[in-house]
């Protein structure tokens, strides 16, 4: 009886805690966004973050896109050849990249490269009282630290996605045309004809939504490290970073489903 009572009340406590954190995270985002209207954003900081999120991710995005495009083309080729519809290869590769794989894979790469680094950086700043120091200097940390990162992510992720899509289609071309020997014209025609502007738009809306989540969540975990972690030290930072990465990936995929179902 007692054990039952305990496990039910544990469930209640966990639920309350999760609702609390969702509320806090929402408040956190609102504070970041509203700081946009209370003063000038440091342009220098935004540039710095675009460099970190955009430029520094470019190589890894290109490599990942190339192999993703190649493997997608390989799998589709194997499937389509059984139906005698190999001429659909270009359409299939382009559609799956632009609508789904491009935004999702780009977001995953950005989570791995930027989300984890951001969370640990913000967590260490919290640990070293840097946010307290900013408060005491009458500097708005939401505007000075958080906003440039969020804006840069919203700006960079769609662009990285576009790069991913194009390079991926190129990778598909290599497999389809040079390895499997499909005609280049059929592949390119398939790509050009199948994709409508709406497909591109849906992909871009997805990457914008992903950009928001994959920056917001690591920032939240880092900024509230002292509330969420039992241990504030190095262990706390590493736990927080792990949680932030897992959570960003899950919420990103969840939002992917939501946006896809709304768009279809």
């Amino acid at each position: 009886m007692n054990a039952l009572f305990n496990s039910v009340s544990n469930l209640g406590a966990a639920t309350r805690k999760n609702i609390d954190s969702i509320g806090l995270a929402t408040l956190f985002l609102l504070r970041i966004v509203s700081s946009l209207f209370t003063g000038l954003v440091s342009f220098k900081q935004v540039i710095k973050q675009i460099y970190f999120i955009g430029n520094r991710s470019l190589i890894v995005i290109i490599v990942a896109a190339l192999f993703t495009g190649m493997v997608v083309a390989l799998q589709f080729y194997d499937t389509l050849v059984r139906f005698g519809s190999v001429d659909l290869l270009g359409s299939a590769v382009a559609l799956s990249l632009i609508k789904e794989l491009g935004p999702v894979m780009t977001a995953l790469m950005v989570i791995a490269r930027v989300g984890s680094a951001t969370c640990s950086e913000i967590g260490i700043m919290r640990n070293e009282q840097q946010f307290d120091a900013l408060d005491c200097m009458a500097i708005n940390s939401y505007r000075y630290v958080m906003l440039p990162r969020l804006l840069a992510a919203l700006f960079c992720v769609p662009m990285l996605t576009a790069v991913f899509d194009l390079v991926g289609i190129g990778g598909g071309y290599i497999v389809g045309v040079h390895i499997q020997g499909e005609s280049p014209g059929a592949y390119i025609q398939g790509v050009m004809d199948t994709i409508s502007f709406k497909d591109v738009l849906v992909g871009q809306i997805k990457s914008l939504v992903f950009g928001l989540f994959i920056m917001w969540i690591p920032l939240y975990y880092g900024f509230y490290l002292h509330l969420n972690q039992k241990n504030m030290g190095a262990e706390g930072v590493s736990n927080g970073t792990t949680q932030a990465v897992v959570m960003s990936a899950i919420i990103m995929l969840f939002s992917d489903y939501i946006v896809s179902s709304l768009a279809l």
Partner: protein, 149 residues
Amino acid sequence: MKNNYVNFLVGLFVLFGIGALVFMSITIGGASVSNSGNYTLVAKFENSSGLKEGAFVEMSGVRVGLIQSINYDPQAYESVVKISLDNEITVPDDSIASIRTSGIIGDRFVKISTGGSEVNMADGEEFIETESSISIEELISKYMFSQDK
């Protein structure tokens, strides 16, 4: 100096990214920047099974337009398909609209076989002659049942 270098690289990234985005939207996605306008033709089919909104319209094997809407006309017991075509594309008024399938499992699309008339169809006009979908299931069953006999 170092800061300028970073600015330059960021500038390059922005140009590259926007370039990729614009290329994808316009070339691949076919977002028309200078829209020359569209006009609509109507084709009534006895059976438009398998045809979807957004499917292609081909003339001589070239994609020239899209299916705008598909509705059922309860009076005529027919399917009313609206076809959106670019203003540059002209269709003689004795052309035939037929529903075809690309490959075995491919999508249905509308094929316009051009006629010889010198008068072109105007916005909102209706095709005189149409050919409905050929259902693979029907074809197969016909074939199988004829074998039985």
